[in-house]
Symmetry: C2
Subunit: 380 residues, 2 copies
């Protein structure tokens, strides 16, 4: 387990813990990521695609899917486990669908290609449903779904991932955390953006509790015998995450079904790796060949007034009296919006100093001289 993983799920603003951070502008982070990737052979426009997704992840407060994972992508290119030459290729196509060979390129290169294609099809026939095999980790799923918002469309994205989740009643990790994202545009730039793993939580949250010596809530993970446990160590050593819903009694079989649904849309439909055949998390001895699915739906093809109804639906939830007056009811995407606003107000992204130190050390090793500055310290 490497150093970086230690900061994977570092508490974000929302948790309200005061700590010192290095404030770095998005442009600087973006440039740094590009330099690191091109230093090991990535094409500049491919590096830019990845930088876009990682910076967006950090701005939205998902540090586990941002700069923090840069070394993973760099390593994939260095070891040639991930390809740098070529572009994704459409293998099969109809007016509304496409099967894409991602050619083992960086996940965001494949993701952008597919999402753009889905949007173009949705512009013509109201929907585009594009699946890819031969892909790699693509960062936050929400990034691709949100591309559709720019066209005032509903966007969706799905990816399979390395097996970490134990199905209901089982004791083997035979499913990934298989995230799904759906974004839908409301009025005036407002939106609904659901971006969620189909496990109760990400592995990083269990690791964080383990490091703090705190138990995990009932329903986050199971031990090696498949029993729900509150001991994070048991989850991390031979156990696994459990699907949304937790135990069978509290509806875990529903989350298990949703994780399977994502796998059907990704590995199964695309003819990529799937389920337990996907390489072990953090082990990169062979190509990932992930399956991914990208969908755009054009509201223009349905009832007029979509955006107004979306805004109203969001208001119905947000404007109700909350159970706890200090915790307003949010819509999916609101916590990230709050995070982005704070970044904007501060003029950059606040990173833990150890992440910056680690990344700068890593950059030097691969011959990058222009490092991340850490001269603006903020308390958050």
């Amino acid at each position: 387990m490497d150093l970086v993983l230690n900061f994977q799920d570092w508490p974000t603003f929302a948790e309200g813990r005061l700590s010192s951070r290095c404030l770095i502008s998005q442009i600087e982070v973006h440039g740094f990521i590009q330099r690191c990737l091109t230093a090991v052979g990535a094409k500049p426009h491919h590096a830019r695609s990845l930088a876009d997704v990682l910076v967006e992840g950090d701005c939205r407060g998902h540090y586990s899917h941002g700069l923090n994972r840069l070394d993973m992508y760099v390593k994939d290119i260095q070891t040639e486990i991930c390809a740098v030459d070529g572009e994704p290729v459409v293998e099969k196509e109809s007016a509304a669908t496409a099967l894409v060979d991602g050619k083992n390129l960086l996940g965001p290169v494949v993701g952008n290609f597919c999402m753009n294609l889905a949007i173009a099809k949705a512009r013509e026939v109201g929907i585009g449903w594009v699946v890819a095999h031969g892909s790699n980790h693509f960062g936050i799923a929400g990034y691709y779904a949100m591309q559709a918002l720019k066209e005032n469309m509903i966007g969706m994205s799905f990816t399979n991932t390395s097996p970490l989740v134990v199905p209901t009643r089982g004791k083997e990790r035979t499913l990934g955390t298989n995230p799904l994202s759906i974004a839908a545009p409301a009025k005036g730039g407002d939106s609904f953006v659901l971006d969620t793993a189909t496990s109760t939580v990400a592995l990083g949250k269990v690791e964080l509790n383990d490091r703090r010596g705190e138990p995990i809530p009932d329903g986050w993970g199971c031990d090696p015998h498949g029993k729900i446990t509150t001991d994070p160590k048991r989850v991390l050593t031979g156990g696994g995450l459990v699907p949304i819903g937790g135990s069978e009694a509290t509806g875990g079989y529903k989350g298990y079904g949703l994780g399977m649904m994502v796998e059907v849309f990704c590995g199964i439909l695309a003819g990529a790796q799937y389920s337990k055949y996907i390489r072990t998390w953090k082990v990169t001895d062979h190509v990932a060949n992930l399956g991914q699915c990208f969908v755009a739906v054009n509201p223009e093809n349905f009832a007029p007034g979509f955006n107004a109804r979306m805004s109203d639906l969001l208001s119905i939830q947000r404007d109700q009296n909350p159970a706890d007056p200090g915790s307003p009811v949010l819509a999916a995407g609101d916590p990230e919006r709050i995070n982005m606003k704070k970044c904007e107000e501060m003029g950059g992204i606040p990173y833990h100093i150890n992440v910056i130190k680690y990344m700068n050390g890593y950059a030097k090793k691969i011959g990058v001289n222009q490092l991340l500055p850490c001269d603006k310290i903020v308390s958050i």
Copy 2:
């Protein structure tokens, strides 16, 4: 609360409680449902559509969505809250999409029309995405998704429903149980069929515990202040169901997001009623105008070998060592398959005698003379 609701979630075979039941063949139940509906003015082919869905619901063990709800549909027609004349109409169409006006007809009439249209489009361009407004309760969502299996396609269906679910952090019922279903074909007639509400459980399960005087598990529902409770009475009197995942700490916000997703595909995209505007459950003083969404995806448009991969994915889950040797790992749809097999072996559907008595009494009142026989008593 009427008598029938008392049997809504009567324990099925799976619970293993011994009780006496009337065994009635599918054909007899089917005919009875048709007679009741046509007696109050439904067109024969519309009545047949509804009978198909209700009998399927019972065969699959979802008694809450079968014969048990017949009186609700009959009443909707009697009171003219639901229309009997006409057929659904396509309002807007592309090669891959359609917006349908359900003309306030019975839910299954609208559902079949839309699903057939989605399948026809998927045959041509790989996908069909059809949404309807002006619809009514359509029975089990899985029925429509499974129509696609006959064409070796992936099917999906979604419907919004009367508000019963309280969003995470809230205390008002502003979402329905908003079910979603996805069916995907494997080899040799095997399949994956997820058919699930986006709440942890259905209201009927809470009612059942209340009648038994038993507490409910943590994570099924909340009290009128929005706090998770184990007291079913608090859920039923001013509280509400909670989304899949339960409390915020155990991922309830994910289920809340999924419930919103279903509403986006249904009420929002279709321009139907939505969220808190949908009429109160069991109150039928005005038309429902539900929104529904039906999708077919043709695996032929993607990577070859879909069915074989599906079979393998199912086997990976089913064949693993279970946590409890007495409870094998199942795939979504397996419990229903087991139930259907038992019905087949027994030669009919085993109904609680009180349901049959109630339905026969109801039928007489609307002038139906040929009643359900209750001469075959079985212990299950």
